[in-house]
């Protein structure tokens, strides 16, 4: 037996499910994907992290509305959902740039100069690790280890792995890819 989602409107005040928010759940098809994930776990609390993964994948980040929706559907306290969403590094509550570059700072990459690679990219794009460029084109993140240590130092651009990156060439390699994507568009 699986539980069904709570009837809307149980919580009052700013948590109330208003007409507009119901509209958003219906009109934005991406909520169907999250819904499917939560259904797979019988709308039970242990599906929370999987639901957050789906939401993050669908929207690129987790906004308050989506977190509240997940809390309500899984019958969880909002504070718990927020606590979980902020505990894990892979979840982000802020919208990301159009493209993402991740610099691996794992040990193998670190001793092969990953810090210099990061600094070079930060310099070139005037963005700190964890931030997004002012034109919202590039988010720069760091990771603990992709497990591609043989290619150290490693960065990824939109999921594509780029290995043996030299600090001097890193920014250029990203620029090439950014240009390629823009041209394709």
């Amino acid at each position: 037996m699986t539980r069904t989602p709570t009837t809307p409107g149980l919580l009052t005040g700013n948590d109330a499910v208003t007409a507009t928010s119901t509209d958003r759940l219906v009109s934005d098809k991406r909520y169907k994907i999250i819904e499917a994930t939560m259904r797979r776990y019988g709308y039970q609390g242990h599906g929370l992290i999987e639901a957050l993964h789906s939401a993050q994948e669908a929207f690129g980040y987790l906004d308050d509305f989506t977190l509240k929706h997940i809390a309500r559907t899984l019958h969880l306290p909002p504070s718990k959902v927020f606590g979980v969403a902020t505990f894990y590094n892979l979840f982000t509550l802020k919208p990301q740039g159009a493209h993402t570059c991740v610099v691996c700072l794992g040990t193998a990459c670190y001793i092969k100069g990953a810090r210099e690679v990061l600094a070079a990219i930060e310099d070139e794009y005037d963005v700190k690790a964890g931030g997004t460029t002012r034109d919202n084109q590039l988010s720069l993140l760091t990771a603990r280890c992709f497990g591609s240590c043989a290619l150290a130092p490693v960065i990824t651009f939109d999921g594509e792995t780029i290995g043996k990156v030299a600090p001097t060439a890193a920014a250029q390699q990203i620029a090439q890819r950014l240009a390629a994507v823009q041209q394709a568009r």
């Binding site: 919580l11 308050d64 306290p77 504070s79 959902v81 927020f82 606590g83 902020t86 505990f87």
Partner: protein, 237 residues
Amino acid sequence: MPRTLTINGQEISARNDQTILEAARDAHIHIPVLCHLDGLTDVGACRMCLVEVAGSNKLLPACTTRVQEGMEVRTDTQRLRAYRRQIIELLFAERNHVCAVCVANGHCELQNLGIEVGMDHVRYDYIFPKLGVDLSHERFGMDHNRCILCTRCVRACDQLEGAHTIDVMGRGAKSLIIRDMNVPWGESTTCTSCGKCVMACPTGALFKQGSTVAEMVHDAEKLAFLKAARERKVWNV
């Protein structure tokens, strides 16, 4: 079935479902605690109640470790005393604890432990994080500068009030006590304003609005009373 064990060389007997902490208290042996609060489940987080147990190469938290037959427990060795002082110093360095201007001055478990462990100064760097004070609730306030993340408020809200308004966000040194989705306390839609979190707080982090220096006396015993009354229908007045 009763268990016989020794604590600091003193032979005592305890029930088999008792923790070392409970057995020690029954025998009037003091073990310092901080994240433990009667009436709430234990999490073993503050490490103040760590004790030495013969035959174990690890120090064990008295609050979560059950007694065993023949256990030889030491609660007050030089090594434990040194560790406890270091832990308390770490807490004082971590956030902005200024006893002189604190509502809980004179009624603070952290301050008392500082005295107990003999802390005359803090050897570590003060971190001086920039943290906020939430005064949005009409009756209560929260000063994150004085929070030690013991989660007693989280547990009181979840286990005794049942609202689970409070939880922890982030992790590591960036952990923060939150209400709902990190909203100002006054805007929480789940908070019942029952005040149990304030009773549970060991420091001046949670307080009644209007309290000034040294005026905030927490009422932590109420929570054990409440638990006994609710769950066992026993009113220990």
